[in-house]
Amino acid sequence: MSDAQPMRTPLRQIRGLGSARSGTSHFWHQRLTSVAGVPLTIGLLLIITALLGRSHAAVVQILGSPIVAIVMLLFIINTAYHMWIGMQEIILDYVHEAKWKFLALMANTFFVFGVSLASIYAILKLSFGV
């Protein structure tokens, strides 16, 4: 029993690390963005419901109005961070080979930046109408 290898990893080896090298900050940020996500998701659903069946001109006008645009921007920014952490967690759970793991983590970052920046650009264009 005394010569059994201790199961506990020395603390200094894991402090501030973890598979993604960032410790527990993502755990907390995921809670933060989930709390913010509840009212923002309700806001998104209300906006989309209110836009059903409307003409393109009406949709453009409503999406570009300040309150609607701000809710949409907050939803997209908040969701972008939430889904980036979430997908990273899924990747770290299932992809163990270093090469594929880091390729998948990179793809996750590219996807989130691409989709969210495209959405943000569209809303800003609708808002400022250039």
């Binding site: 989930s34 659903l45 997908m87």
Partner: protein
């Protein structure tokens, strides 16, 4: 049967202890809902492409917007949107359930079953209500 590592073997090559994976457990509601939470999260991740497409089309012009409206109004589009609505609401309610659990409440057997069932029933009910409102009050997609 999996071999049990009792820790009595010696040497540097002894494998690290690992926890058993999903297939060893009898499926339970809380466990299935936990898996569904992850699946809906992953689905919503790719579903953000739809939101981006819709917004970009609106910013591009009437023709691009008409394409999105045509797709969203088609049978496939409606099925995707219906699934997207449910996934979003289910992930949101499941998230609220996890936030309640984060405060160390609702862990009694009856409580956690009730919370989990409420997530499922609530998400289905809210999805149906939203679609009924969408079709009856707002006239549905066009």
């Amino acid at each position: 049967m999996a071999e049990l590592d009792t820790g009595m073997t010696t040497g540097a090559t002894r494998p690290r202890p690992i926890s058993p994976h999903l297939q060893i457990y009898r499926p339970m509601l809380t466990m299935v809902m936990s898996i569904v939470h992850r699946i809906t999260g992953a689905a919503l991740y790719f579903g953000m492409l739809l939101l981006a497409w819709w917004l970009i089309a609106a910013a591009t012009g009437p023709n691009a917007y008409a394409n999105v409206e045509w797709f969203m109004g088609s049978l496939i589009g409606q099925l995707i949107l219906f699934g997207y609505t449910w996934a979003l609401l289910h992930h949101m309610l499941g998230g609220i359930r996890h936030l309640i659990w984060d405060t160390i409440h609702g862990f009694e057997p009856a409580e956690r079953e009730m919370l989990t069932l409420a997530t499922l029933i609530g998400s289905i009910a809210l999805t149906l209500i939203l679609w009924v409102v969408g079709y009856l009050v707002m006239g549905g997609p066009r």
